[in-house]
Protein backbone atom coordinates (compact mmCIF):
# COMPACT_ATOMS: atom_id res chain seq x y z
CA UNK A 1 0.00 0.00 0.00
CA UNK A 2 1.35 3.35 -0.93
CA UNK A 3 1.06 5.81 1.94
CA UNK A 4 2.72 8.65 0.12
CA UNK A 5 0.24 11.51 -0.11
CA UNK A 6 -0.54 12.65 -3.64
CA UNK A 7 1.74 15.51 -4.52
CA UNK A 8 -0.33 18.47 -5.69
CA UNK A 9 0.07 19.09 -9.39
CA UNK A 10 1.55 22.29 -10.64
CA UNK A 11 -0.47 24.44 -13.01
CA UNK A 12 1.70 23.21 -15.88
CA UNK A 13 1.14 19.56 -14.98
CA UNK A 14 -2.60 20.09 -14.71
CA UNK A 15 -2.62 21.93 -18.05
CA UNK A 16 -0.65 19.11 -19.69
CA UNK A 17 -3.17 16.61 -18.30
CA UNK A 18 -5.97 18.70 -19.81
CA UNK A 19 -4.22 18.72 -23.21
CA UNK A 20 -4.12 14.92 -23.08
CA UNK A 21 -7.68 14.63 -21.89
CA UNK A 22 -9.93 17.70 -22.14
CA UNK A 23 -12.51 15.92 -19.95
CA UNK A 24 -10.14 15.61 -16.97
CA UNK A 25 -12.27 17.37 -14.33
CA UNK A 26 -9.46 17.74 -11.79
CA UNK A 27 -7.18 19.26 -14.38
CA UNK A 28 -9.90 21.69 -15.45
CA UNK A 29 -10.21 22.82 -11.85
CA UNK A 30 -6.49 23.15 -11.23
CA UNK A 31 -5.74 25.12 -14.40
CA UNK A 32 -9.12 26.76 -14.88
CA UNK A 33 -7.94 30.18 -16.01
CA UNK A 34 -5.51 28.90 -18.62
CA UNK A 35 -8.01 26.36 -19.93
CA UNK A 36 -10.67 29.07 -20.29
CA UNK A 37 -8.23 31.10 -22.39
CA UNK A 38 -7.38 28.06 -24.48
CA UNK A 39 -11.06 27.41 -25.16
CA UNK A 40 -11.66 31.01 -26.15
CA UNK A 41 -8.95 30.63 -28.80
CA UNK A 42 -10.48 27.36 -29.95
CA UNK A 43 -13.79 29.16 -30.30
CA UNK A 44 -12.37 31.48 -32.94
CA UNK A 45 -13.29 29.88 -36.21
CA UNK A 46 -12.01 30.88 -39.57
CA UNK A 47 -14.85 32.49 -41.52
CA UNK A 48 -16.18 30.44 -44.38
CA UNK A 49 -15.57 32.27 -47.67
CA UNK A 50 -18.89 31.01 -49.03
CA UNK A 51 -20.15 28.57 -51.61
CA UNK A 52 -19.36 30.86 -54.54
CA UNK A 53 -15.72 30.85 -53.52
CA UNK A 54 -15.62 27.09 -53.19
CA UNK A 55 -17.39 26.63 -56.53
CA UNK A 56 -14.51 28.46 -58.19
CA UNK A 57 -11.77 26.97 -56.05
CA UNK A 58 -11.06 23.74 -57.95
CA UNK A 59 -11.39 25.44 -61.33
CA UNK A 60 -8.77 28.02 -60.29
CA UNK A 61 -6.59 25.29 -58.84
CA UNK A 62 -6.78 23.36 -62.10
CA UNK A 63 -5.73 26.48 -64.02
CA UNK A 64 -2.80 27.06 -61.70
CA UNK A 65 -1.71 23.45 -62.05
CA UNK A 66 -1.81 23.72 -65.83
CA UNK A 67 -0.01 27.08 -65.92
CA UNK A 68 2.61 26.34 -63.29
CA UNK A 69 6.14 26.68 -64.61
CA UNK A 70 7.74 23.35 -65.26
CA UNK A 71 10.72 22.81 -63.06
CA UNK A 72 13.95 22.61 -64.99
CA UNK A 73 16.04 19.72 -63.93
CA UNK A 74 18.86 21.35 -62.05
CA UNK A 75 22.26 19.82 -62.09
CA UNK A 76 23.09 18.40 -58.74
CA UNK A 77 26.03 16.37 -57.62
CA UNK A 78 23.68 14.77 -55.14
CA UNK A 79 21.92 13.20 -58.11
CA UNK A 80 25.10 11.33 -58.91
CA UNK A 81 26.52 10.79 -55.48
CA UNK A 82 23.50 10.68 -53.20
CA UNK A 83 24.31 11.68 -49.65
CA UNK A 84 27.75 12.41 -48.25
CA UNK A 85 27.87 8.93 -46.74
CA UNK A 86 27.59 7.35 -50.19
CA UNK A 87 30.29 9.63 -51.56
CA UNK A 88 32.63 8.92 -48.65
CA UNK A 89 32.01 5.18 -48.95
CA UNK A 90 32.66 5.19 -52.70
CA UNK A 91 35.83 7.24 -52.25
CA UNK A 92 37.13 4.90 -49.55
CA UNK A 93 36.35 1.94 -51.79
CA UNK A 94 38.31 3.49 -54.66
CA UNK A 95 41.28 4.12 -52.36
CA UNK A 96 41.29 0.50 -51.16
CA UNK A 97 40.94 -0.79 -54.72
CA UNK A 98 43.79 1.42 -55.89
CA UNK A 99 45.97 0.29 -53.02
CA UNK A 100 45.31 -3.36 -53.76
CA UNK A 101 46.01 -3.04 -57.46
CA UNK A 102 49.05 -0.76 -57.32
CA UNK A 103 51.88 -3.07 -56.17
CA UNK A 104 51.06 -5.96 -58.47
CA UNK A 105 50.38 -3.95 -61.57
CA UNK A 106 53.38 -2.96 -63.72
CA UNK A 107 53.47 0.51 -65.18
CA UNK A 108 51.97 0.80 -68.62
CA UNK A 109 55.23 2.27 -69.89
CA UNK A 110 56.94 -0.92 -68.82
CA UNK A 111 54.54 -2.91 -70.95
CA UNK A 112 54.55 -0.71 -74.02
CA UNK A 113 57.79 -1.11 -75.95
CA UNK A 114 57.21 2.08 -77.92
CA UNK A 115 57.44 4.17 -74.74
CA UNK A 116 60.66 2.57 -73.50
CA UNK A 117 64.01 3.29 -75.04
CA UNK A 118 65.58 0.17 -73.55
CA UNK A 119 62.88 -2.04 -74.91
CA UNK A 120 63.72 -0.84 -78.39
CA UNK A 121 67.29 -2.06 -78.11
CA UNK A 122 68.36 -5.09 -79.96
CA UNK A 123 70.11 -7.89 -78.15
CA UNK A 124 73.33 -6.58 -79.61
CA UNK A 125 72.78 -3.20 -78.01
CA UNK A 126 72.03 -4.74 -74.67
CA UNK A 127 75.16 -6.84 -74.88
CA UNK A 128 77.07 -3.68 -75.76
CA UNK A 129 75.83 -1.92 -72.65
CA UNK A 130 76.62 -4.97 -70.61
CA UNK A 131 80.13 -4.97 -71.92
CA UNK A 132 80.57 -1.32 -71.02
CA UNK A 133 80.08 -2.23 -67.40
CA UNK A 134 82.66 -4.92 -67.54
CA UNK A 135 86.17 -4.10 -66.43
CA UNK A 136 87.59 -5.07 -69.80
CA UNK A 137 86.47 -1.86 -71.44
CA UNK A 138 85.46 0.61 -68.81
CA UNK A 139 86.56 1.04 -65.30
CA UNK A 140 83.14 1.88 -63.92
CA UNK A 141 82.88 5.38 -65.40
CA UNK A 142 81.37 6.26 -68.75
CA UNK A 143 83.43 9.44 -69.06
CA UNK A 144 86.53 7.26 -69.25
CA UNK A 145 85.25 5.58 -72.37
CA UNK A 146 87.48 6.35 -75.31
CA UNK A 147 86.72 5.76 -78.95
CA UNK A 148 89.26 3.00 -79.23
CA UNK A 149 87.38 1.11 -76.52
CA UNK A 150 84.19 1.52 -78.45
CA UNK A 151 85.85 0.39 -81.64
CA UNK A 152 87.01 -2.71 -79.85
CA UNK A 153 83.58 -3.29 -78.51
CA UNK A 154 82.03 -2.95 -81.94
CA UNK A 155 84.51 -5.31 -83.41
CA UNK A 156 83.52 -7.83 -80.78
CA UNK A 157 79.82 -7.34 -81.17
CA UNK A 158 79.38 -6.62 -84.85
CA UNK A 159 77.77 -3.62 -86.52
CA UNK A 160 74.12 -3.97 -85.45
CA UNK A 161 74.10 -1.37 -82.76
CA UNK A 162 71.58 1.42 -83.24
CA UNK A 163 74.19 3.86 -81.98
CA UNK A 164 76.13 3.52 -85.17
CA UNK A 165 75.53 5.79 -88.10
CA UNK A 166 75.87 3.32 -90.86
CA UNK A 167 78.36 4.80 -93.28
CA UNK A 168 80.35 2.06 -94.91
CA UNK A 169 83.15 4.39 -96.05
CA UNK A 170 84.24 5.40 -92.61
CA UNK A 171 85.99 3.30 -90.00
CA UNK A 172 83.75 1.99 -87.26
CA UNK A 173 85.17 4.19 -84.57
CA UNK A 174 84.39 7.32 -86.61
CA UNK A 175 80.79 6.16 -87.26
CA UNK A 176 80.08 5.87 -83.58
CA UNK A 177 78.29 8.91 -82.16
CA UNK A 178 79.72 8.74 -78.70
CA UNK A 179 78.12 12.05 -77.56
CA UNK A 180 74.62 10.87 -78.49
CA UNK A 181 75.25 7.66 -76.70
CA UNK A 182 76.47 9.45 -73.56
CA UNK A 183 73.47 11.76 -73.47
CA UNK A 184 71.12 8.80 -73.86
CA UNK A 185 73.01 6.98 -71.18
CA UNK A 186 72.74 9.90 -68.80
CA UNK A 187 69.06 10.45 -69.57
CA UNK A 188 68.16 6.84 -68.95
CA UNK A 189 70.38 6.56 -65.86
Amino acid sequence: MNNTPNKPRTEQEAFAAYLDNPNDAAAREEAAELIAMMESIEAIEAPDPGQEYWNQFNHRLQQRLENRPRKRARFSWRFFFGGWQTTAFAFAGLLVLGFLLMPSTPRQSDLNPSDNQWAQMSEQDLAFIDQLYSDDYLDGNLSDLVESDVAQLLDDLGEDSQFLERDGDLPLDENFDSEAFKSLWNAEG
Binding site: L34, M37, E42, P47, P49
Partner: protein
Protein backbone atom coordinates in the same frame (compact mmCIF):
# COMPACT_ATOMS: atom_id res chain seq x y z
CA UNK B 1 -28.61 -7.45 -43.27
CA UNK B 2 -26.89 -4.29 -44.42
CA UNK B 3 -24.10 -2.77 -42.40
CA UNK B 4 -23.99 0.99 -42.55
CA UNK B 5 -20.43 2.27 -42.76
CA UNK B 6 -19.67 5.90 -42.05
CA UNK B 7 -17.02 7.00 -44.53
CA UNK B 8 -15.59 9.39 -41.94
CA UNK B 9 -14.93 6.44 -39.64
CA UNK B 10 -12.35 4.98 -42.05
CA UNK B 11 -10.58 8.04 -43.36
CA UNK B 12 -7.16 6.45 -43.56
CA UNK B 13 -8.00 3.57 -45.87
CA UNK B 14 -10.18 5.87 -47.95
CA UNK B 15 -7.33 8.36 -48.25
CA UNK B 16 -4.89 5.59 -49.10
CA UNK B 17 -7.20 4.46 -51.88
CA UNK B 18 -7.50 8.03 -53.18
CA UNK B 19 -3.75 8.48 -53.15
CA UNK B 20 -3.23 5.17 -54.93
CA UNK B 21 -5.82 6.00 -57.57
CA UNK B 22 -4.11 9.35 -58.19
CA UNK B 23 -0.71 7.68 -58.45
CA UNK B 24 -2.22 5.24 -60.92
CA UNK B 25 -3.08 8.19 -63.13
CA UNK B 26 -6.64 8.96 -62.11
CA UNK B 27 -6.74 12.76 -61.90
CA UNK B 28 -10.26 12.81 -60.48
CA UNK B 29 -8.90 11.20 -57.30
CA UNK B 30 -6.94 14.38 -56.62
CA UNK B 31 -10.10 16.43 -57.10
CA UNK B 32 -11.75 14.29 -54.43
CA UNK B 33 -8.81 14.88 -52.08
CA UNK B 34 -9.15 18.60 -52.68
CA UNK B 35 -12.90 18.57 -52.04
CA UNK B 36 -12.38 16.63 -48.82
CA UNK B 37 -9.69 18.77 -47.21
CA UNK B 38 -9.80 22.22 -48.79
CA UNK B 39 -11.88 23.81 -46.01
CA UNK B 40 -9.58 22.55 -43.27
CA UNK B 41 -6.52 23.70 -45.17
CA UNK B 42 -8.09 27.12 -45.74
CA UNK B 43 -8.97 27.37 -42.03
CA UNK B 44 -5.36 26.71 -41.00
CA UNK B 45 -4.08 29.26 -43.50
CA UNK B 46 -6.59 31.83 -42.31
CA UNK B 47 -5.70 31.22 -38.66
CA UNK B 48 -2.08 32.05 -39.42
CA UNK B 49 -2.63 34.98 -41.74
CA UNK B 50 -6.03 36.44 -40.76
CA UNK B 51 -6.24 37.49 -44.38
CA UNK B 52 -8.55 35.93 -46.96
CA UNK B 53 -6.36 36.66 -50.00
CA UNK B 54 -3.31 35.19 -48.32
CA UNK B 55 -5.29 32.23 -47.00
CA UNK B 56 -6.69 31.58 -50.47
CA UNK B 57 -3.24 31.73 -52.03
CA UNK B 58 -1.78 29.45 -49.34
CA UNK B 59 -4.60 26.95 -49.78
CA UNK B 60 -4.08 26.80 -53.54
CA UNK B 61 -0.32 26.54 -53.09
CA UNK B 62 -0.77 23.73 -50.57
CA UNK B 63 -2.71 21.64 -53.07
CA UNK B 64 -0.26 22.42 -55.88
CA UNK B 65 2.58 21.18 -53.68
CA UNK B 66 0.53 18.15 -52.72
CA UNK B 67 -0.14 17.42 -56.40
CA UNK B 68 3.57 17.58 -57.16
CA UNK B 69 4.65 15.69 -54.05
CA UNK B 70 2.01 13.02 -53.65
CA UNK B 71 4.30 10.45 -55.25
CA UNK B 72 6.71 11.02 -52.34
CA UNK B 73 4.01 10.86 -49.66
CA UNK B 74 5.03 7.85 -47.57
CA UNK B 75 1.77 7.66 -45.61
CA UNK B 76 3.61 7.64 -42.28
CA UNK B 77 1.18 10.32 -41.19
CA UNK B 78 -2.40 10.69 -42.34
CA UNK B 79 -3.13 12.56 -45.56
CA UNK B 80 -4.86 15.26 -43.52
CA UNK B 81 -1.81 15.76 -41.28
CA UNK B 82 0.45 15.83 -44.34
CA UNK B 83 -1.68 18.47 -46.07
CA UNK B 84 -1.94 20.57 -42.92
CA UNK B 85 1.81 20.29 -42.46
CA UNK B 86 2.40 21.67 -45.96
CA UNK B 87 -0.04 24.48 -45.28
CA UNK B 88 1.47 25.21 -41.86
CA UNK B 89 4.98 25.37 -43.25
CA UNK B 90 3.89 27.70 -46.04
CA UNK B 91 1.97 29.85 -43.54
CA UNK B 92 4.90 29.99 -41.13
CA UNK B 93 7.26 31.00 -43.95
CA UNK B 94 4.85 33.72 -45.00
CA UNK B 95 4.21 35.10 -41.53
CA UNK B 96 7.90 35.02 -40.60
CA UNK B 97 8.76 36.89 -43.78
CA UNK B 98 6.55 39.71 -42.56
CA UNK B 99 4.74 39.91 -45.91
CA UNK B 100 1.30 39.23 -44.45
CA UNK B 101 -0.91 42.26 -44.67
CA UNK B 102 -3.89 42.79 -42.49
CA UNK B 103 -7.17 42.22 -44.27
CA UNK B 104 -8.28 45.39 -45.93
CA UNK B 105 -11.11 45.35 -48.38
CA UNK B 106 -10.94 41.69 -49.29
CA UNK B 107 -11.99 40.30 -45.96
CA UNK B 108 -14.52 37.55 -46.44
CA UNK B 109 -17.98 37.71 -45.16
CA UNK B 110 -18.51 35.01 -42.62
CA UNK B 111 -21.25 33.02 -44.31
CA UNK B 112 -21.58 30.68 -41.40
CA UNK B 113 -22.85 33.45 -39.20
CA UNK B 114 -25.53 34.50 -41.62
CA UNK B 115 -26.23 37.82 -43.18
CA UNK B 116 -28.10 40.79 -41.84
CA UNK B 117 -27.68 43.12 -38.95
CA UNK B 118 -24.66 42.57 -36.76
CA UNK B 119 -25.68 42.22 -33.15
CA UNK B 120 -23.99 44.03 -30.30
CA UNK B 121 -22.92 40.73 -28.79
CA UNK B 122 -21.30 39.79 -32.07
CA UNK B 123 -19.38 43.06 -32.17
CA UNK B 124 -18.12 42.51 -28.63
CA UNK B 125 -17.09 38.97 -29.51
CA UNK B 126 -15.24 40.16 -32.63
CA UNK B 127 -13.47 42.84 -30.62
CA UNK B 128 -12.38 40.24 -28.08
CA UNK B 129 -11.12 38.00 -30.88
CA UNK B 130 -9.13 40.88 -32.33
CA UNK B 131 -7.52 41.53 -28.95
CA UNK B 132 -6.76 37.87 -28.60
CA UNK B 133 -5.16 37.71 -32.04
CA UNK B 134 -3.16 40.85 -31.36
CA UNK B 135 -1.79 39.12 -28.25
CA UNK B 136 -1.14 35.88 -30.16
CA UNK B 137 0.88 37.84 -32.71
CA UNK B 138 3.17 38.99 -29.91
CA UNK B 139 4.11 35.43 -28.97
CA UNK B 140 7.43 33.92 -30.01
CA UNK B 141 6.99 32.17 -33.39
CA UNK B 142 7.23 28.59 -32.08
CA UNK B 143 4.73 29.20 -29.30
CA UNK B 144 2.35 30.95 -31.67
CA UNK B 145 2.52 28.22 -34.30
CA UNK B 146 2.10 25.42 -31.78
CA UNK B 147 -0.83 27.16 -30.09
CA UNK B 148 -2.65 27.85 -33.36
CA UNK B 149 -2.28 24.23 -34.43
CA UNK B 150 -3.25 22.79 -31.07
CA UNK B 151 -6.39 24.89 -30.88
CA UNK B 152 -7.36 23.90 -34.40
CA UNK B 153 -10.08 21.30 -34.80
CA UNK B 154 -9.21 19.08 -31.85
CA UNK B 155 -5.77 18.28 -33.15
CA UNK B 156 -3.94 16.02 -30.69
CA UNK B 157 -0.52 16.81 -29.23
CA UNK B 158 0.92 13.92 -31.26
CA UNK B 159 -0.49 15.33 -34.52
CA UNK B 160 0.86 18.79 -33.72
CA UNK B 161 4.22 17.25 -32.78
CA UNK B 162 4.42 15.54 -36.19
CA UNK B 163 3.74 18.81 -37.97
CA UNK B 164 6.10 20.83 -35.79
CA UNK B 165 8.77 18.10 -35.83
CA UNK B 166 9.12 17.99 -32.07
CA UNK B 167 8.02 15.79 -29.18
CA UNK B 168 4.51 15.87 -27.72
CA UNK B 169 6.10 17.07 -24.48
CA UNK B 170 7.54 20.08 -26.27
CA UNK B 171 4.11 20.79 -27.74
CA UNK B 172 2.56 20.78 -24.28
CA UNK B 173 5.29 23.04 -22.89
CA UNK B 174 4.98 25.47 -25.80
CA UNK B 175 1.19 25.65 -25.52
CA UNK B 176 1.39 26.13 -21.75
CA UNK B 177 3.94 28.93 -22.06
CA UNK B 178 1.94 30.53 -24.86
CA UNK B 179 -1.32 30.56 -22.93
CA UNK B 180 0.40 31.79 -19.79
CA UNK B 181 1.96 34.65 -21.70
CA UNK B 182 -1.37 35.46 -23.36
CA UNK B 183 -2.97 35.70 -19.93
CA UNK B 184 -0.34 38.22 -18.88
CA UNK B 185 -0.59 40.19 -22.12
CA UNK B 186 -4.38 40.45 -21.93
CA UNK B 187 -4.27 41.42 -18.26
CA UNK B 188 -1.92 44.31 -18.82
CA UNK B 189 -3.50 45.25 -22.13
CA UNK B 190 -2.06 44.16 -25.45
CA UNK B 191 -1.33 47.64 -26.75
CA UNK B 192 0.22 48.96 -23.56
Amino acid sequence: MTIQVNPQAIPTSEDQALVQRFLDGEESAFTQITLKYRKQVYAVAYRFTRNHAEADDLTQETFIRAYNGLANFRQEASLKTWLLKICTNLSINLTRSGRVTKDSGDAVEDHDHGKGAVSEARLIQEQRHEELYAAINQLPPKQKETLLLKTFQDMTCEEVAKIMKCSPGTVKANVFNAVKKLRTLLKVGVNS
